[in-house]
Symmetry: C2
Subunit: 328 residues, 2 copies
């Protein structure tokens, strides 16, 4: 299977490293970062590529653009992990549309295109007879999309609820365990590399809400948007609130919930008993699917990380190869 | 998709009820209990079938045997959920072999055939070009087999550990929460219908060990047997041991573990921190897969129940339909 890789940040590097290290039957035939591109239909030499990128900041030739790669490279699937604004979805949405238009499968870790244009992109993929997959956009390494498609396929999904933002979960864990204030825990999260300089996107629940929109639309084939999510962040939580919860054997977590039947689409801090399955520690993610037959299924795993996210992308790629080989 | 259903106990009834209630595109064309059989190539009327079974104790004609159904009925997949001895695997293994021999897909919830003859049966299925699936044998409604095949497909599985027996977990939960002795908690588990009159199979870790063997052989393609599992039950645990663990913020759970690299294949009571992901309450099951890319993925869900087990069987059936329709 030949892939074109757009983006050589943390996720792109993780994908390249795993493709190089493991015998997956995947070949990278083209790669682009924001400044340059490189194509080799026989397969890019990955160690040289990563060394070149590290040394020069470029992965290839500044004369080769992303558009060139999408149009001209030889590949079966586009792996779209380029730096993208999650609130506008660009430039990723444009890249994905172009590749699907060329009847190429697309796998992405970018939340913007899926939350904003997921329905359109799924329809375009169907029309072109190719796959559009985005396991990596929600809950990192946890293969929730695969589970919904297969293991639980006969089930009606009644509702979902989960911890979808590792930064908030880290802050809340530290506030509870060490009695830190929100500001102290945020500072620590920054020092650990878990929080951005501007933490708004995480701590106000925007990231969790975007992931909730992606899951909701994928499960119930709706067209929900970020603005439809009732959203409360963790930035106004006091150490006292957490202490009071702890005194009752409880704690506080930022929970994303969706239940179409009761019209709930919400991200908010919730008081949960400490033995509740969604009370996970540190930067972990967790997700409970409530279904008619299997009842509650909870998944816990890493929500971020270079190799962890690569796991989700590679799972999508191998799935596409398997499915379309059978069809062909 | 046409199925022949062998067994109308709790699981068989669950499958029949769900097939009747939900629009799954599945038709039951034959059914057998231990005393009788019934065939209708156009589709058995499920409400009449279940009413007849309830009233007479027979699902059909005492002149029709299981062997007749396997040989003569019109079906794509055999759903083998007949009462079977988990330690001998019979008569289930014989039924499965006969159906695979007829080039019929087989889905089972019976642990015996898979733990004792899984490798042979998988090979026979491959030779005949059909599927042999057994998601329901391990951890009930949790679709762990699907996850291993797809979502985590690029990953190397390094080890597994889990709570695979709901009866033991219920007893341990009650001992910890209420300070009950083992005997008191066992009595309660019996009254709740969670423990058999002879609890040996559960409390000595045999059930968990058989499930561990199934998972181990499925993941690493080995030929491990029940006798290869180092096994300690919960029947000698004292209320004091649990109290001491609780004083340290810990508790005790019966953990099944497999790690080929360190030659661990073990079921034993383990002291775990209360916020460990495998510390689940009551009759729940939980399973952690440790992998090279996704790292730890934990799954929590119901380990038993009529409809919950039907969920796993139906997931297997729909998967087979999907896969083989593509191939056909």
């Amino acid at each position: 299977m030949k892939i074109a890789l757009l983006g050589l940040g943390s996720v792109g590097r993780g994908v390249a490293e795993m493709v190089d290290k493991k015998d997956l039957g995947i070949t990278i035939t083209a790669v682009a970062d924001s400044k340059s591109g490189y194509m080799d239909p026989a397969g890019v030499d990955i160690p040289s590529l990563l060394a070149r990128k590290k040394k020069t900041g470029h992965c290839g030739d500044t004369g080769i653009t992303v558009a060139d790669i999408i149009k001209k490279a030889t590949y079966d699937a586009l792996v779209e992990v380029s730096p993208t604004n999650a609130l506008t979805g660009e430039p990723s949405t444009e890249y994905i549309r172009a590749a699907l238009g060329r009847k190429k499968h697309v796998v992405t870790s970018n939340k913007g295109p899926v939350s904003l244009a997921g329905k359109d992109l799924r329809a375009l993929a169907r029309k072109k007879g190719v796959a559009f997959r985005y396991e990596a956009t929600v809950a990192g390494a946890i293969p929730v999309m695969h589970l919904l498609e297969h293991g639980l396929s006969g089930n009606e999904i009644l509702s979902i609820s989960g911890v979808l933002n590792g930064t908030c979960n880290y802050i809340l864990t530290r506030m509870a365990d060490e009695g830190l204030t929100y500001d102290q825990a945020l500072l620590e999260a920054r020092e650990m590399g878990y929080a951005e300089a501007d933490p708004t996107y995480d701590v106000q629940g925007i990231d969790a809400a975007i992931k909730l929109v992606i899951l909701t639309n994928a499960i119930w084939d709706t067209g929900k948007k970020l603005a439809d999510v009732e959203r409360t962040g963790i930035d106004l939580l006091t150490a006292d609130a957490l202490r009071l919860a702890e005194e009752d054997g409880c704690t506080i977590r930022l929970i994303a919930e969706s239940c179409p039947k009761t019209h709930v689409l919400r991200v908010s801090p919730r008081i949960l008993s400490k033995n509740h399955p969604l009370v996970v520690e540190g930067t972990l993610n967790a997700l409970t699917l409530t279904t008619d037959m299997a009842k509650e299924i909870t998944l816990i795993g890493r929500g971020a990380g270079s190799v962890e996210t690569a796991s989700a992308i590679i799972g999508d790629l191998l799935y596409i190869r398997d499915q379309y080989a059978r069809r062909a």
